[in-house]
Amino acid sequence: MTNDILIKADNVSKKYCRALKHTMIYGMQDIVRNTLGMAAHSDRLRDGEFWALDDISFEVKRGECVGIIGANGSGKSTLLKLLNGIFLPDKGRIEIKGRCGALIEVGAGFHPMLTGRENVYINGAILGMSKKEIDRKFDEIVSFADIGDFIDSPVKHYSSGMYVRLGFAVAIQCEPDILLVDEVLAVGDAKFQRKCFAKMNELRQNGKTILFVSHDVNTVNQLCSETILLDHGAIVKQGNPRDITKLYHKFLFGQEEQSDKGAFQEISLTAHKEQCVTVQTGQDEFIERQKLKQYAMQKLNISDVHISSEEMRYGNKKAEIIDYGILDRNFKRVDVLKTGERYSIFFKTLFYEDLDDLTLGCRIQNTRGMDVFAANTYFHNITIPPQKKGNLLECCFDVKMHLAQGDFFLTFGIRNINSDNFYDRRIDTVHFKVESIDKMDSACLVNLDEVVSVRNVVVG
């Protein structure tokens, strides 16, 4: 139903100035033009301007929680400010239905000399609340902020955590239909973060719409039903959070390999892999690599590297993970696991170059993208001997499956200890299920091997 669309952005663009000098001149021009009733030439770039956001279109429905992720400077905050109406777009159109609250900066407008109580009223007024409304919610605000007697002390005596808590408490109480949240949850201690998430979940359940800007992928995964990935002011992709965060990871850490191809298109994986190799190395080397690989595969007795459709892959391919899997105690490959049993997670890496200072790791995520397990050789103080070209290295993680049940994804990676550039990283390569023999709550994550006992202490 179109009625349920609360935010609608159509081809929205916003430009910024690079130099202050231009800011002054153009600012003046725009004001004069506005005053004379002429439309400012906002749809084209003047000297020294650039598009901070370029042709953004999306819709957000009631009750949705949309995460916006992107590297620094990708336009996330600008987008949020446009949606909040702080700036007007230079092109396109934004339609908002309902009261829009913003947590772009919490505690903005707090005056350090005034007490928390006074500031609550000021901040509330800035956010559009009436005195009556604040009176009514005051106790709730104070208890949410959890600052106790400090409410009557000047804000300048607050710790930064208290400051943010109070700001957040005020902002969250203005009961918006749409809540725009900028990276504010990063501050505050764990207890408060937990509280904020609970509050945001509660808002979601009450049918509120939330737009959440972050570069913390885990948070986005846990909170959002939909994610938009921004890069250089343009939407790269919109979709389900797990897919988008994978793409984001690839973007953040896989740039070296991407640089010559105009970063960031999803290319069919096989084609992509071949391309990378050909682009970066000459034809001879490519053939040599193929030979090495074929030889290794023969040794391993496998026909081709299996690629799952959910996989996302990046790396500079100085080494390649060519075989992987999960083995049970009879050395049989499995992808349906039983909780409580022992398994061996392994992957084999083929080296195309001589490499040293290696670390190998694997990681397990649940369907919401939350890391439930991660291990690597570095953390376990395992020194890996320098590897020669053509070597095949196996890495095993013997684990007891403490995951309770559900669907999980396995990620492998190999990189240099001192850098974040992966030689090869295969995200969500294995999709496996964990099943439990006993009855278990379907929402729970871990199996604690519990022994349950009940006894009467006093019989009455």
Partner: protein, 282 residues
């Protein structure tokens, strides 16, 4: 999605929506920000005098020094102020208090937007409330000075005119003019920081160019200079109402009232149209 309370953000939004609609928007937004203006005013007021020993008395110290110097200059015969109908200290304090609405008003409003910090760029609220709230400081200063003036009146044993009650209304045009110029300065200061310095320089200059500390000259350079100066007429007019009980130059005064209201309305309009542009340039 065609509900009535849909908010649309588009380029040149206010120019496209038609004059009357946007005019209505101006009034609605001003009316809706009354609570905010009050809160911001309280904030500035409380914060200004907290952690200060003399507190609000600071509003008196500056004008008393200026007036004191002029009284001394006048007494010692260095300056010949001429006939002021009331004792000179009362005349001078009166003048400088009225002028203070303008001068303090300009300096605080020029700073109001750029001084508001991150909230201007991070929260969507009517920025005009910042400017109007800052004017409150000028008015508070004025009230304090008026109390001082009343003490002086009692000291000299002068009974004020019945027109004392009209006096606040006589100040209104001056307040509107100050607000109008203040709107413009606060906008421009968002783009050029120089405005703040220029404003303080000009208000000092005007203090001496205009009949604030001396009665309006009837002829000569300064008389010609102030012939069409609405600000000067508004100050003289307000003082006339208080001291003489009538206007010495009614036609000039009413021309100035008209002028100040026009400045106010035009500046308000410009402010409304340019508010968003400023947020991105600050």
């Amino acid at each position: 999605m065609n509900g009535e309370n849909n908010i649309v953000y588009a380029p040149n939004k206010f120019i496209r929506m038609g004059f009357l609609t946007s005019l209505q928007g101006m009034f609605v937004s001003l009316f809706q920000s009354r609570e905010l203006i009050w809160r911001l005013f309280l904030r500035d007021f409380k914060a200004k005098y907290r952690q200060s020993v003399f507190g609000i008395l600071w509003a008196l110290i500056n004008p008393l020094i200026t007036v004191g110097i002029f009284v001394l200059l006048n007494r010692s015969g260095i300056l010949n102020i001429g006939d002021t109908t009331v004792p000179y200290p009362i005349f001078a304090l009166m003048g400088i208090s009225v002028y203070g609405i303008f001068s303090t008003g300009l300096s605080v409003s020029a700073n109001s937007i750029i001084g508001a910090g991150p909230m201007v760029v991070k929260i969507n609220f009517p920025k005009i409330s910042l400017v109007i709230a800052s004017m409150g400081q000028a008015l508070i200063d004025f009230f304090v000075r008026m109390l001082m003036l009343i003490i002086l009146l009692i000291f000299y044993g002068i009974a004020p005119n019945w027109t004392l009650f009209i006096f606040p209304f006589a100040l209104l045009p001056l307040i509107f003019l100050t607000l109008g110029v203040g709107f413009m300065l606060s906008l421009l200061a968002g783009i050029f920081r120089d405005i703040v310095h220029i404003a303080s320089f000009l208000t000092t200059l005007f203090l001496f160019l205009m009949p604030v500390l001396y009665p309006a000259p009837q002829s000569g350079l300064f008389a010609n200079l102030n012939l069409w100066n609405p600000l000067s007429h508004l100050i003289v007019g307000a003082r006339d109402v208080f001291i003489l009980g009538n206007l010495s130059n009614p036609s000039e005064y009413f021309y100035s009232v008209f002028f100040s209201l026009s400045v106010f309305l035009i500046s308000w309009r410009i402010f409304f149209l340019s508010e968003h542009r400023i947020a991105e340039r600050v």
